[in-house]
């Protein structure tokens, strides 16, 4: 078995036993990158020398008796997350060459935990997309089938983990951007409760929706990464001041799934769903019942309004957030003769088509005469969507559904039809609008491609969804079928 194919907890065990060093582990990952990255394209930039230096430091710290949760573990970081001294572009030309003078809080916490950083992973520009085809640099390919997209927007983070090019990674999820690529690539992806993980240093897209989340090979690894990054941060006034349990301990609690009520939201099994996806997820629900869970039909009646509400709210917030790219303090500047033309021409040259489309849509939704009809109405519908979840969680502990109505689609299939691309997110966006948590875990295959099971929890219900996911995973082997490259 090659070291790059280990999970984080397996590698940590071997590091603790002295069977392997972090340098050996990191070099195995770097060799794997050399072998497959030309096919997959998971990274925007790689820092192999820095990674080896970090691994050497981790080995030195271990030699003097230090032990930390991620000491010496090589990870990939989505390029929407700020890394001190390492170029960070959000897959946009407008940030080409930007070298941040500070770390995101999540990165700072991974450093404290001893992690090694291999490189910055590819994504849709400013995390706006569902396929990673909207990266300004190059598309990423699905390690399960190189003709297919890896999903998005954190497609590079999921493909890197699926291809063995990192032991784990961080992504960010505004409307499904961690869960969808995890589902398409057959790995685990967790979107925490809004406020569970600090957004300080996460390049902002939709500030009331954005969350950083882990992408890993199995559920225990997701719990390990969440342990490291979760918790209150004075630098993010929207971070929750709530205690962080030890999620690794939490997932192993309980007697199977006995007594757990698992809601099945009928609206999440939509008419247009690929039959293989529905069958695979139904079989997973039967398996949860075999483990002692009690399936309960529930209704989230406003689900059909999730996509329009999301694309109004998210683009409105994006249009405000992206006004900072003006060519003054950082990033590209395209001189236009005077100040206003310099702003406009910088933005015209620096943003790709999907980012412009969303800025235009959000600007329209916030503009005089349309604010009430679009933005305010979407915010009210958001309240109804939140109430749907609150009512459902009065009856059940967690809910389960597919992550997307389809498996990974072919490259170029949707890239010219923005509305079809948006509909990929139909089963994920409502969680962000409601602020609740969700995880995608592998639950089988349809047409040869992985299907993700979405397990949804209430606010701060990470323990419940991780525990359900862990019990499912311990009694199945979908997560032990790596991509063949």
């Amino acid at each position: 078995m090659e070291l790059y194919s280990l999970t984080i907890h397996e590698a940590q065990e071997k590091l603790r036993q002295g069977e392997i060093s972090s340098v050996e582990l990191t070099e195995s990952v770097l060799e794997r990158i050399d072998a497959v990255e030309a096919k997959v394209g998971a990274y925007i930039s790689l820092q192999p020398e820095l990674a080896v230096r970090m691994a050497e430091m981790a080995d030195e710290r271990r030699a003097v008796g230090e032990d930390r949760p991620l000491l010496g573990i090589p990870l990939g970081i989505k390029d929407t997350i700020i890394t001190h001294g390492v170029p960070t572009t959000a897959a946009s030309k407008i940030l080409d060459g930007f070298v941040p003078p500070f770390d995101a809080t999540a990165i700072d916490r991974l450093r404290q935990a001893g992690a090694v950083f291999v490189g910055k992973t590819n994504c849709d520009e400013f995390a706006m997309g569902s396929s990673t085809e909207y990266s300004a640099f190059h598309p990423t390919r699905n390690p399960r089938n190189l003709n297919c997209v890896p999903g998005g927007s954190s497609g590079g983070s999921a493909a890197a983990v699926g291809a063995g090019e990192a032991l784990g990674s961080l992504g960010s999820d505004t409307g499904g951007s961690v869960r969808l690529p995890a589902s398409f690539c057959g790995v685990v992806g967790l979107k925490p409760t809004y406020g569970r993980v600090s957004r300080y240093g996460l390049i902002a897209f939709g500030s009331s929706l954005d969350q950083i989340g882990p992408i890993t090979k199995d559920v225990e690894d997701a719990a390990i990464l969440l342990n490291a990054i979760a918790g209150h941060d004075a630098r993010d006034s929207t971070s929750l001041n709530a205690p962080v349990p030890n999620y690794v301990d939490e997932i192993k609690q309980g007697d199977g799934l006995k007594g757990i009520k698992v809601g099945i939201p009928q609206e999440y099994f939509t008419e247009g769903m690929e039959p293989g996806v529905a069958q695979t997820v139904r079989a997973a629900i039967d398996h949860l019942a075999d483990l002692g869970a009690e399936p309960v039909e529930v209704s989230l009646p406003n689900t059909g309004y999730g996509i329009p509400a999301y694309y109004i709210v998210a683009t409105a917030e994006a249009s405000a957030n992206l006004s900072r790219y003006d060519g003054v303090r950082f990033g590209l500047r395209q001189d236009g003769g005077d100040m206003w033309n310099t702003f406009s021409q910088t933005r015209e040259a620096g943003f790709g088509p999907e980012v412009k489309r969303r800025i235009m849509l959000g600007t329209y939704a916030l503009s005089a005469g349309y604010y009430d009809a679009y933005y305010l109405q979407a915010q009210k519908v958001r309240t109804l969507l939140r109430q749907d979840f609150e009512r459902a969680f009065e009856k059940v502990d967690v809910m389960v559904s597919p992550v997307a109505p389809m498996v990974a689609f072919e490259i170029n299939a949707k890239v010219d039809d923005p509305l079809q691309m948006y509909l990929t997110d139909v089963l994920t966006v409502s969680l962000n609008l409601a602020g609740v948590c969700g995880i995608s875990i592998p639950c089988g295959f349809s047409e040869g491609m992985p299907v993700g099971l979405q397990i949804i929890g209430p606010a701060l219900g990470e323990s419940a969804i991780l525990r359900t996911a862990y019990q499912y995973e311990q009694t199945t082997d979908w997560h032990k079928q790596p991509a063949e490259l």
């Binding site: 060459g97 070298v99 941040p100 003078p101 500070f102 809004y194 406020g195 009331s208 004075a234 006034s237 929207t238 929750l240 406003n302 309004y305 996509i307 329009p308 694309y311 249009s319 006004s323 060519g327 003054v328 303090r329 950082f330 590209l332 500047r333 001189d335 236009g336 005077d338 100040m339 033309n341 310099t342 702003f343 406009s344 021409q345 933005r347 015209e348 943003f351 088509p353 412009k356 489309r357 800025i359 235009m360 849509l361 600007t363 329209y364 503009s367 679009y374 109405q377 979407a378 915010q379 009210k380 519908v381 958001r382 309240t383 923005p418 509305l419 609008l433 409601a434 602020g435 606010a459």
Partner: protein, 96 residues
């Protein structure tokens, strides 16, 4: 009949500070019209008496003590600036 006309596309681009090409204006007029037509379904929802959600969190006016703390040194803050002079960001004249 497209939902957005050409003048509206140009007005939004001006508000968004984007110098769109003619081809982009054509493309966005069609695509944004399609998306907005789809979003029309929000108008069917009865939201009488429903307050808007601006944040999913039950948080309001989070305050912190107003205390001096370390911040980025000037040279680091300027390290990514396209143009800087005398410790400041340099821009084109704001007033003629």
């Amino acid at each position: 009949m497209a939902k957005l006309n050409r003048e509206e596309v140009e007005r939004i681009a001006e508000l968004a500070k984007l110098t769109l090409s003619d081809a982009e204006k054509d493309m966005f007029q069609e695509q944004l019209s399609n998306i907005l037509e789809y979003a029309e379904m929000l108008q069917q929802v009865d939201t009488t008496g429903i307050p808007p959600t601006t944040s999913a969190l039950p948080l309001n006016n989070v305050m912190r003590p107003d205390e001096l703390a370390l911040s980025l040194p000037n040279d680091e803050a300027l390290s990514n600036a396209p143009d800087a002079e005398d410790g400041s960001f340099k821009v084109r004249a704001v007033l003629d």
